[in-house]
């Protein structure tokens, strides 16, 4: 099982649409829409939210995403009625971006807190905000230093770094970004790729990194080496597109 998602919206169509979009990148995740009032109008329904929570909970927990004001209040009320269960959390996140990011993280098998964080980080700027084609070369991560047998370098401060070149024709577009962010989301790591948070599918896509782009990767945390190895393997494998 994986963490499930419930999408609460004032509009049944909007909730269903967000589920449709997020499901594209997360085929095995239970995504349940709870949109509109009981009689199909614009608004939110406690009954719909509570039954969606029941459907989405496969044991690993549920992350709830909401659209506007009273949807948040209805979702909070539903949790209060249910005695505020520990395994159901509300994500304070933009609905569409948050749902997709959370779905990708859930698909990768990430735990509840990581899925919640993925949603909430969906729009936040990366740690360095270096933006597209980040020119700032990370100290100690010069290309030469990365040419060793492992393809990565451990800096004196413990950070694992690597410089990798995208070889697949389309570069870091949606599917590779989703695969990468999803896999990294399951690891206990803080990872920066050209200034973007490597666990955020949107920030990776926003790099606009095409074929031939150098990726400067810096990872810290218990899974830092695994994370860099994973990025390296994916990049060198052309994300399975070659």
């Amino acid at each position: 099982m994986s963490v499930g998602l419930v999408i609460v919206s004032h509009s049944a169509q909007l909730a269903a649409g967000v589920v449709e979009l997020a499901a594209q990148m997360a085929r095995d995740v239970v995504l349940v829409p709870a949109g509109g009032t009981d009689d199909g109008g614009i608004g939110t329904s406690l009954d719909k939210v509570m039954s969606a929570l029941g459907q989405a909970d496969g044991g690993d927990g549920v992350v709830v995403l909401t659209d506007l004001g009273s949807a948040v209040m209805t979702a909070e009320s539903a949790l209060e009625f249910m005695g505020n269960p520990e395994k159901i959390v509300l994500a304070d996140a933009p609905l569409v971006e948050g749902a997709v990011a959370a779905a990708v993280a859930a698909q990768s098998g990430a735990a509840l807190a990581v899925v919640q964080k993925a949603a909430e980080a969906a729009l936040s700027p990366g740690p360095a905000s270096a933006g597209q084609g980040a020119s700032g070369v990370i100290p100690g991560a010069a290309p030469g230093a990365a040419a060793g047998g492992t393809g990565s370098t451990v800096r004196p401060d413990g950070a694992v770094t690597a410089v990798l070149t995208l070889i697949n024709p389309i570069g870091l577009h949606a599917r590779p970004a989703a695969a990468l962010a999803g896999a990294l989301g399951a690891l206990d790591v803080d990872i920066d790729i050209n200034g973007a948070d490597g666990q955020s599918v949107f920030l990776l896509m926003a790099l606009g990194a095409g074929q031939g782009t150098e990726l400067h990767v810096t990872a810290t945390g218990p899974d830092a080496q695994r994370a860099v190895d994973l990025v390296r393997a994916e990049v060198e494998n052309g994300f399975g597109e070659l």
Binding site: S70, M73, E76, S77, F81
Partner: protein
């Protein structure tokens, strides 16, 4: 079920009568509440609340809740389910917290009523994240709770009458305020000169509670002249 009371407590019959009176007064002011909301919001407050309280009436017709707490929890669930807009979870949370505060007590004395009103207000604050002066329901509820706490506690009817009076004054006092929460906050200074619909409906509903208590009290027992 006829409303009964000893004068020093209110019971399930009072709670049911309160809900019925609330439904009647919301239906009566449905258009007026929506007009207030049309000036500074999305214009559906009266219709939404009316839908919620109509559903409460249907549930009361099916089964009479055995305690005030059960009546409050039924009202909470129904309002959150049926109202749709922000008023649903706000009033729903108010009734839910009030229901939790009174537990399964068969009769509520003044102290328990004050506790219930306080819990209700705190629920609205927690859910809506508004403060006094933001031009919201809180501006009716907080004066009501303060007045209830300071009122003569010998009779619940007096406590509720004090709360209702303060809520009505609080609602009127929202007229000159600039809205800082909800959809009206988008209007900024243009929200001045309009009464907050949520404060207005809160005053109506708290008045219904007082009227139900006055009707339940034995003649002369509480000095309410009912």
């Amino acid at each position: 079920m006829t409303a009964t009371g000893t004068g020093t407590t209110v019971d399930a019959a009072w709670a049911i009568d309160w809900l019925r009176r609330s439904a009647a007064v919301v239906a009566e002011h449905r258009v007026a509440l929506s007009e207030l909301d049309r000036a500074i919001g999305d214009g559906d407050h009266g219709e939404n609340l009316d839908r919620g309280f109509t559903a409460i009436l249907a549930k009361l017709d099916e089964e009479a809740p055995p305690t005030p707490g059960a009546a409050f929890k039924m009202a909470a669930m129904t309002l959150i389910s049926k109202v749709g807009g922000a008023a649903g979870p706000l009033y729903g949370t108010a009734f839910l917290r009030a229901g939790t505060a009174v537990g399964d007590a068969a009769a509520l004395d003044s102290a328990l009523l004050v506790a219930a009103l306080t819990a209700a207000r705190d629920g609205v604050v927690a859910r809506g994240k508004a403060e006094s002066g933001d031009k919201t329901m809180i501006d009716a509820w907080t004066p009501a709770v303060d007045a209830a706490a300071a009122a003569d506690r010998s009779a619940p009817a007096a406590v509720l009458a004090a709360a209702a009076e303060a809520a009505e004054a609080g609602a009127v006092a929202t007229d000159p305020l600039i809205a800082r929460k909800g959809r009206a906050s988008y209007l900024g200074e243009r929200s001045m000169g309009h009464r907050d619909p949520g404060a207005a409906s809160s005053a109506l509903i708290l008045r219904a509670a007082a009227d139900a208590a006055a009707a339940a009290a034995p003649a002369g027992a509480s000095g309410t002249g009912a």
